[in-house]
């Protein structure tokens, strides 16, 4: 039995009195894909940072490739063959793919660069992982999955022995995920060790060999992936039996709150969209990248102009030229990009929550603002939604993804919407927070809010929707009822297999 490639024993780390990790351990063998799962705050990122040397551990030891690491830093870990691949690729946008791939290495005397050699090396590296990317392309023109592949190729160049993937599939389509898995399998077969962190538990049986569950900074269990179910993993991650992640209940549907008739917008790239949503109903919107889901939401919310068609709210046709008008009609939109559009990172939690309803807190024609009322309202919402924070005045950037999303949601709940559009609401959020957000959705539906749920996670769409609208090339091609939908039928419709003219 050969020694593991990476062995992490009894790692502890505290930040200013808060224990991020205590006695965390796991090991990775050559040619193994080892998954690490855990809620946000369980210590996954801290553990990875310690392995790559970005952060120093207080206790415990790391053994890599046969020797113990006495000191560590990003430069050292890179040199010995540890390659982290983060969720957001960090390439140089203005430089070419070839330059990005070979940056900092393969330089000659006095730093002289042989461009021909570098381009040849780059072509070879990309070929090794089967990526069809032009080495002369500017990095900023690549899509995100392509940038990810370039990062992997770059790691290959530095003779990486251990690859650490941190949420690599969070923003990938099904096809890109499959490509990535092929690449990972290739790396594995060539003898590399892979650490794979993901919230998408359903992916693990496909790609991982073993899985380690972290909770509250310690290793709970390490198991072979065979026979492990998502429920078991969730139970281990959360420490208690979680009532379903998709707490769907039957809700009495009311009148049609919201209707779209032949809605078209050239700038948004949508045409002839027809949809109706009733009070208490959750309509899921599915489709491939570029199908027009977010664009549709933007037209409804007034972020993109409509060219023709009608938006009908409670039986009356309305014009919405600006989000302010949408809000005044009781429509709320939770955007997809949480960090850039969902919350204002630098502002405190309390300010984020009241941001869309400031006129409720001002008097004297906007000259007097009530901070006391803001505090009260913020405290109430953070309690109601279960936002884990010590201080509502701290900046939102200190919260985990799930909690940030709850703050964003609070902002829209405060506007008391009758129609709520959610765009990828649980993307990149751990299971515990996910189910809490789904529970909130159900409560809102029970209160009569009409909900539109845009999501790329099929289990979420199937688990939460009453009806499912599938978009393709800017229009809705099919609407399934909950009972008749399945992963396959949705995918087929999304790919346009009913030969609808485009």
């Amino acid at each position: 039995m050969s020694e593991p490639l990476l062995s992490v024993d009894g790692i502890s780390k505290s930040y200013a009195g808060v224990r991020a990790l205590s006695d965390a351990s796991f090991s990775v063998n050559r040619g193994e894909v080892h998954a690490i799962v855990g809620e946000n705050g369980a210590g996954k990122s801290t553990l990875i940072k310690i392995i790559t040397g970005a952060v120093q551990n207080d206790e415990g030891s790391i053994h890599f490739n046969g020797s113990t690491l006495t000191e560590n830093s990003p430069a050292i870990s890179k040199k010995i063959g540890i390659a982290p691949i983060y969720q957001q690729p960090s390439l140089f946008p203005e430089l070419s793919v070839a330059e990005n791939l070979t940056f900092g290495s393969h330089t000659g005397f006095l730093g002289l660069i042989d461009w021909k050699k570098r381009r040849a090396i780059s072509k070879d590296l990309l070929g090794r992982i089967g990526a069809k990317i032009d080495v002369d392309a500017t990095a900023s023109t690549l899509s995100m999955p392509q940038q990810q592949l370039v990062e992997i190729a770059r790691a290959l160049d530095s003779q990486a022995k251990l690859f650490i993937f941190d949420e690599p599939t969070a923003s990938l389509s099904e096809e890109d995920t499959r490509n990535l898995f092929d690449v990972i399998r290739g790396l594995k077969n060539a003898g590399a060790g892979i650490v794979y962190i993901s919230h998408r538990l359903e992916e693990l049986p496909i790609i991982a060999d073993r899985v380690t569950v972290l909770r509250d900074g310690r290793t709970i269990e390490t198991r072979s992936i065979e026979g492990v179910t998502s429920e078991e993993l969730v139970r281990l991650m959360v420490g208690r039996e979680l009532s379903a992640v998709f707490p769907k209940r039957d809700v009495q549907k009311g009148e049609v709150r919201f209707e779209l008739k032949a809605l078209s917008s050239r700038s948004a790239g949508i045409h002839n969209v027809n949809l109706s949503v009733r009070a208490g109903e959750i309509v899921g919107v599915s489709g491939l990248v570029g199908a027009g889901r977010t664009e549709l939401a933007k037209v409804i919310f007034g972020l993109e102009p409509k060219d023709s068609g009608e938006i009908i709210k409670d039986g009356i046709a309305v014009t919405i030229g600006h989000p302010i008008e949408a809000i005044s009609h009781g429509i709320a939109y939770l955007p997809e990009d949480r960090r850039r559009h969902g919350v204002v990172l630098d502002l405190p939690i309390s300010a984020n929550i009241t941001l869309a309803s400031l006129k409720n807190l001002t008097s004297l024609k906007g000259m007097s603002f009530s901070f006391a009322r803001e505090r009260k309202i913020a405290a109430e919402y953070t309690r109601r939604l279960g936002v884990k924070t010590q201080d509502i005045h701290s900046s939102v950037s200190t919260l985990s993804g799930g909690n940030q999303q709850k703050v964003a949601l609070s902002r829209w709940l405060m506007t008391e919407p009758t129609v709520l559009i959610l765009d990828e609401p649980t993307q990149g959020i751990d299971v515990g927070a996910k189910s809490e957000i789904h529970e909130l959705m159900m409560e809102l539906a029970e209160k009569g809010v009409a909900i539109v749920l845009i999501s790329s996670e099929l289990p979420e769409i199937l688990g939460m929707s009453d009806r499912i609208a599938v978009m393709n090339k800017g229009t809705i091609v099919t609407i399934f009822d909950r009972s008749e939908a399945s992963q396959d039928s949705i995918l087929a419709a999304a790919l346009g297999h009913d030969k609808e003219g485009a």
Binding site: S90, F92, P93, S173, G290, T294, S456
Partner: protein
């Protein structure tokens, strides 16, 4: 072209020669400024640095320092001035616009206070035109600038130290992760600019027999304008020295061109400004078109 048609005297050899010589110091400064802007920073104190270096150069010449020593000495003095900016921006991470704005004021006012605006006069004969004839002296100036331009352009394209500059300007954090010392690169480009400014001061001073007490006013704007018009992105990471050359040529000739066309030369600043605006707008518009394509690629995943 318009000018050429309207006033063929513009293209006379003597005029072209004058234009080249007049703008040689600006070209040197613009080269250094290109480096700074490529890293995503800016230096608006170069005009004041130029003034200080000019006076210092004159005083040293008067004190009898021979030309052969004076040349490298000016590089060092300029570099030292630049290193102040370099340290504050590169290592203390202060915003370059604020730091160099402060330096602009501090340097010029300190100079004014010390010299009371007096010009340095009575420069030794061996100083003017390097002690050579005017023709030879002018040739030397042009050669120096061409050689430095060639070295700089080569370094930016083919040396890893040059590529590091692009990397830091493109994404300083990614550069750090690759092992590039972004602080050092940032600091060094300011030192480089300072050195080139010192040399430019010398090259400019040898043309006259006295050094004005208020040299270089407006140089920083001209240099930055030349770099931006030449196509470098003000946010860093993009741009080529060839562009800067075109920029200098364009902006440096406006004044003279206007005179030849019989237009009031006071329009020069206005036209300069208009050209800068046009270049910036073009960059933003082209950038937006590119961005729209890019954001569609990184939007949400498929079902």
């Amino acid at each position: 072209m318009i000018v050429g048609v309207a006033a063929p005297e513009f293209f006379s050899p003597s005029n072209i020669r004058d234009l080249v010589i007049n703008n040689a110091p600006l070209m040197l400064i613009a080269i250094g400024m290109t480096f700074v802007i490529l890293t995503g920073q800016i230096d608006i104190s170069v005009g004041s640095q130029f003034a200080v270096c000019s006076i210092v150069c004159g005083l040293l010449a008067k004190a009898g320092v021979p030309m052969l020593i004076l040349i490298p000495l000016m590089l060092v003095i300029g570099g030292l001035l630049g290193s102040i900016n370099g340290y504050l921006v590169g290592y203390l991470r202060l915003p370059s616009i604020v730091v160099t704005l402060a330096m602009l004021v501090v340097l010029r006012d300190t100079l004014r206070w010390l010299t009371e605006g007096a010009w340095v006069q009575g420069l030794p004969d061996s100083f003017q035109w390097f002690g050579l004839s005017q023709g030879r002296g002018e040739l030397l100036i042009v050669l120096v600038v061409l050689v430095i331009f060639a070295i700089a352009a080569f370094a930016l394209a083919n040396l890893s130290s040059g590529r590091n500059i692009y990397a830091v300007g493109s994404d300083a954090e990614a550069a750090r992760l690759t092992g590039v010392d972004a602080r050092r690169v940032t600091a060094l480009v300011f030192v480089l600019l300072g050195s080139l400014t010192g040399l430019a001061a010398l090259l400019n001073a040898v043309r006259f027999n006295a050094i004005p007490g208020n040299a270089g006013i407006g140089f920083e704007l001209k240099a930055i304008a030349a770099v931006v018009v030449g196509g470098a992105a003000i946010s860093g990471g993009r741009g080529r020295l060839l562009g800067t050359l075109i920029g200098v040529a364009l902006l440096g000739t406006i004044g003279t061109a206007l005179t030849f066309l019989g237009i009031n030369p006071f329009w020069e600043k206005a036209i300069q400004g208009a050209i800068i605006l046009a270049a910036l707008v073009a960059e933003v518009v082209l950038g937006r078109l590119e961005n729209n394509g890019r954001s569609r690629n990184t939007s949400s995943a498929a079902a």
